[in-house]
Subunit: 106 residues, 2 copies
């Protein structure tokens, strides 16, 4: 079973969950109310997010509050870094200039 952060954020519901618990810790039931789906479905998403360490939990009585492990989100940022370097150093625009120059030659 592949379980990495990229697979975790592939699902739109999970991205929404991430967005919600980034702001405040929430219980599965509270989360489920935000979506047109069951608590069990939300719990399954939480399980996946937990398995790739994107989530931390705090038990309060019979309730479990889930919140985002922000540090883990940096993994996406680190992967993106190589491409950010490219668009920031305007490699893209350079490429376009080269294309135009090439066309003018022909």
């Amino acid at each position: 079973m592949r379980r990495d952060i990229f697979q975790a954020i592939a699902d739109p519901t999970r991205r929404a969950i991430i967005g919600l618990i980034a702001l405040q810790a929430m219980t599965p039931n509270a989360l489920a109310e935000h979506f047109d789906t069951s608590r069990q479905a939300v719990s399954k998403h939480i399980k996946i997010l937990t398995e790739c360490e994107l989530i931390k939990q705090e038990q309060k009585g019979r309730e479990i509050y889930y919140s985002l492990e922000l540090e883990k989100m940096k993994e996406i940022d680190r992967w993106l870094e190589q491409f950010r370097t490219m668009w920031e150093t305007r490699f893209n625009q350079l490429d376009e200039v080269l294309s135009i120059m090439k066309e003018q030659k022909q």
Copy 2:
């Protein structure tokens, strides 16, 4: 058929393809040599990447050179921005401090 950029980068082979064609335009055959998979499998990935506009192509005779649509990668960056703001403003560390303070109270 869901087809967004987050679903596109969920697959490790596709992320590798993205990394390769970010540096230089490549044909499906050239790409397939980098992986332990067939050209057809690579072509399927390319199709998916094309469908979410992550890739542009240039036909040269019977060969097709694929390269990255760098601009589209920014979409991931934009989604990540909300979380980057959080870890850059050290909300995370603040949260830890609060936890420690709470523990000390008890």
